[in-house]
Symmetry: C2
């Protein structure tokens, strides 16, 4: 049975940051923790958020979120949240601060350990409540501001995906102004994350037509504007469109994701490499599009339509060409992945939540072949 569940409220436009104080008031947040990272602070975006908040004395700041956030960082932030008597979380940043903030908001209300909420271990219903959460993205890719998931690298090395409608931030504030200073390489990598969300969510066999409509609209915008945003970061329309593609991608992936994300999560957990999630998605996408092609013929026609490609155009080639034009690495090897890493990527890909909703079931050999093609 199809469950069509849309529960988010998003303020979206240049200047939307002005909604922070009134929305926090509406949600009853008086002593927020702002979960962010050093890069966001260095870019001056934390100052902008504090200015929009208006009362810096009431704010606790946690700016030590690592890229691909860890359980250790979540617990450190939680300790500060509790010590400071915070009553809500404002996530400010890309996917990492948003995911960390979601975890803190959950643990603040429902308690540790985090692993008990793992949906693959029957933990989905253990999350009963979450502290009020406002998400303010500063990149256009993750879409975590509108999504029901977050991903944490656990102490035992697993990269776990947690998912519940509870984890959708009560309010998202999407202000493309905050992305104007994002460098070209990050614009490209996060933009490919958004595009991959739209494509993978559309392709999962879960029945959710509204989410598919949203995915195609997001893909159309992302595909047509990513090169402009990479080439000229001050192109306001391109920034607006990329942020919309990102939030639409996340609205769409209530349907689930697929093998691209399974492999990106699996490769993203290699701690010594700290690989960027969006870049991994961009690289894995062509191989997965080739792998799924036979079972997605009708849907591929609609993807081509949204992307403005000729009927019958090769989707995987189109993505690979785009990757090259926007400066993505040539392959996994160029990112530092070696043959030694491959067995681990295969193993964790198969265990990943996203693997379950790929339109075609992938065996260990299939993953090995897709990884080899992406090296």
């Amino acid at each position: 049975m199809a469950l069509l569940n849309y529960l988010n409220t998003t303020h979206f436009d240049f200047g939307a940051l002005a909604m922070l104080a009134p929305e926090a008031k509406r949600l009853g947040i008086t002593r927020p923790m702002i979960a962010t990272d050093a890069g966001v602070r260095a870019a001056g975006l934390l100052d902008k958020a504090l200015e929009a908040w208006g009362d810096p004395a009431s704010v606790t700041i946690y700016d030590e979120t690592p890229g691909n956030p860890t359980e250790r960082a979540v617990l450190a932030a939680l300790e500060i949240y509790q010590a400071q008597g915070c009553d809500g979380v404002i996530c400010l940043g890309g996917g990492s601060p948003m995911d960390l903030g979601k975890a803190v908001a959950l643990l603040a209300r429902c308690g540790t350990p985090l692993a008990q909420y793992d949906p693959l271990a029957g933990g989905r219903d253990k999350a009963k409540d979450i502290a009020p959460l406002i998400a303010i993205p500063t990149t256009s890719g993750t879409g975590s501001e509108a999504s029901l998931g977050f991903v944490i690298i656990m102490e035992d090395g697993r990269k776990l995906t947690f998912a519940s409608p509870l984890f959708i931030p009560k309010v998202a504030i999407c202000d493309p102004e905050l992305t104007l200073g994002l460098p070209p390489a990050m614009t490209a990598a996060t933009g490919m994350d958004a595009i991959t969300h739209c494509i993978e969510a559309f392709l999962t066999p879960v029945v959710h037509p509204p989410a598919e409509g949203v995915a195609l609209d997001g893909l159309r915008r992302g595909w047509r504007h990513i090169e402009r945003a990479v080439a000229d970061g001050s192109d306001r329309q391109a920034r607006w469109e990329m942020m919309m593609a990102s939030t639409e991608g996340a609205l769409a992936f209530v349907k689930g994701l697929g093998a691209v994300h399974a492999m990106s999560h699996a490769a993203g957990r290699i701690e010594e490499l700290r690989l960027h999630h969006g870049t991994l998605n961009a690289l894995f996408l062509p191989a997965v599009l080739r792998f799924n092609a036979d079972v997605c013929e009708e849907k591929y026609a609609r993807l081509r339509e949204a992307m403005g490609l000729a009927p019958g155009a090769d989707l995987a080639d189109a993505v690979a060409d785009l990757n090259q034009r926007i400066g993505m690495p040539a392959g996994l090897a160029a990112m530092g992945v070696t043959e030694d890493h491959v067995p681990g990527i295969i193993e964790f890909s198969q265990k990943d939540l996203a693997a379950r909703s790929n339109p075609r079931r992938a065996s260990a050999d299939d993953y090995a072949a897709m990884i080899a093609a992406t090296m």
Copy 2:
């Protein structure tokens, strides 16, 4: 600023009616009023709902909803609701029982008179709360199960549209099984209502890309399946697709509607004619598509794509042809509208909430011309 607000939960599939009892329990409804009408009861659908509920003794039934519900009927139902100590409303039917049920749920919590909640008279914020509401559509057209609006003919003759996120039913149960017995004429008229929702919502200039994606997906389904559903009511796939088009149309019209709905509301308030809303939409749609054409060039290209029409095909002609194929009346005159009615339709069209979001502003003369073209 764009406000992207999706707040509904929909169970959708053959057999979804089984979700009624558990969802009512979740919402705390123990003594529901079922708001329905004589036709729904005669078709045996009330019995199906009572069976799904399981405890008929706890249910109060109001089955006197008129087509195009009136304030008088709302107050009659409210009196029974209060006398019976009901604690929630289950709307079962097409648009009329759903709109009546929403009004009862509002008045049960916030009090009479209904007119104080008129958004055009500053009443939007006066609605603070609403009794728990479950909507079960038995036609595929209105989409009221997923929409934030309801329409009531007031004692003073106005047809008012009330709108608030509060009025989105907490849960919608969309079971295409309930539409298998709908006669061809009603299938056609309600189906054109859904198609019009998708088209008008997509065309309004309000910025809401996710809703536009949903609108196009709904249009694609509705346009490709309405003839099958009309020709063979037992075609389960066509019934499923039409119900999805209907619910997607309503998800889309959070953006607002346009001149088609302004005129349909204005003509629908003529009490001696009791004209069907979906049929009116079908008839007005070609004239409005011609009126808007110059300001919607880019969007018309996307409508053609969703409908599978050739590039450059005339949208208005395509709709008029479809109307003929599915047995819609030849024009307003054939429905009993006379020249005497026209000044009233013009007057109330201009005052209607939907008139404000038409992509091109229509004057009294413009409305006169569109009505004349539809006679």
